[in-house]
Symmetry: C2
Subunit: 200 residues, 2 copies
């Protein structure tokens, strides 16, 4: 049975420590209101294509695109020691790649876009979620909701990471303290850090 499930994936769902990434284009709905539908789809797909390449190169698992938003996870189905580090490097490379995305947008007469990226590390339930007709490998748990709240607090160009992610990092990074966040269902304010770069 273990050989048949080399990743240790339990059919019924299991608890996994993962680093969750949520990213979206800040203010994209407002930007899209001044564009033709085909332009909106061109912009989203150019952005998602560039981001997907980076996430896959860093061995992240893309859970979902929801409009212009990306939900990805590092550490499931396959756990690696450097899950948090790959997520952090992925986020830095994603922000760096926005210059090229915007160069192409500008060449097409399209507006500049900026993405905000949130990282959070915690234990989630991973499993095949859905119905007999339609199911997918998905994630449930409080850390998912917390990541969404951090994402809401990002500005364009930001990478905000939870204290849990900072603690999980093995490499050396430049960070600065972010404004603590109020998260529904948690009494204490959530400590977050702005990820600025990797120190070599």
């Amino acid at each position: 049975d273990i050989l048949e499930r080399p990743e240790g994936l339990e059919l019924g769902g299991d608890l996994r420590r993962v680093t969750i990434m949520m990213a979206d284009i800040r203010g994209f709905t407002t930007i899209s209101e001044n564009l033709a539908p085909a332009q909106v789809v061109t912009m989203i797909n150019r952005y998602l294509g560039a981001m997907t390449d980076i996430i896959m190169a860093q061995q992240g698992t893309i859970d979902e695109f929801i409009g212009d938003a990306i939900l990805a996870v590092f550490g499931a189905p396959q756990r690696r020691e450097d899950d948090a580090d790959r997520a952090a490097r992925c986020a830095l490379q994603m922000q760096a790649a926005m210059d090229e995305v915007n160069r192409l947008n500008q060449a097409d007469g399209l507006p500049e876009i900026k993405t905000g990226i949130a990282l959070n590390t915690g234990d989630v339930i991973a499993g095949n979620i859905g119905s007999e007709r339609r199911s997918k490998y998905g994630f449930v748990g409080h850390p998912m909701n917390v990541t969404s709240r951090i994402e809401d607090a990002t500005a364009g160009g930001d990478i905000l990471i939870a204290d849990s992610t900072l603690q999980a990092l093995r490499g050396n990074y430049q960070t600065e303290a972010g404004e603590p966040l109020k998260v529904k269902g948690i009494h204490e304010l959530l400590r977050v850090h702005r990820l600025l770069g990797e120190t070599t």
Copy 2:
């Protein structure tokens, strides 16, 4: 070309008037913290299985499961005159089906769950969203965000519908006024109605 795209689906994306449904189990993250991972997945999948059957019977398009949340659309890729009505009947049937979901949960020693459902009608951009490696038929636009805000305001057992959906309904339904909602990016409060039943 029109014959090849009988639904009128433009490859680049097009503007569609749709009724959007978002549903989720209220407080499920907290409920799930007291359960084993396999129990959590059993509960979610029982719920999603029952809801999916109803949504598909009403010809809704399931865009996504995100954890225990469901995003579905009525009116794309195929537009029908009764899109809003099928969405409303679907929501009523989904709430009615929760009795059976909870009967099965109780038989397994699992806690009761309640779902909140939001409906909103508006123009969204529909298209194939994603990258070359991975794309899906998806939706972008302000009405998506508004639906999410309405969903946030639902309590377990609620169906809250936007005024835009009420105006689009052709059948006769019992409704009562809900508390107007503050929505980010909109100056006026959003009028919502609680959908109670269909009048025959």
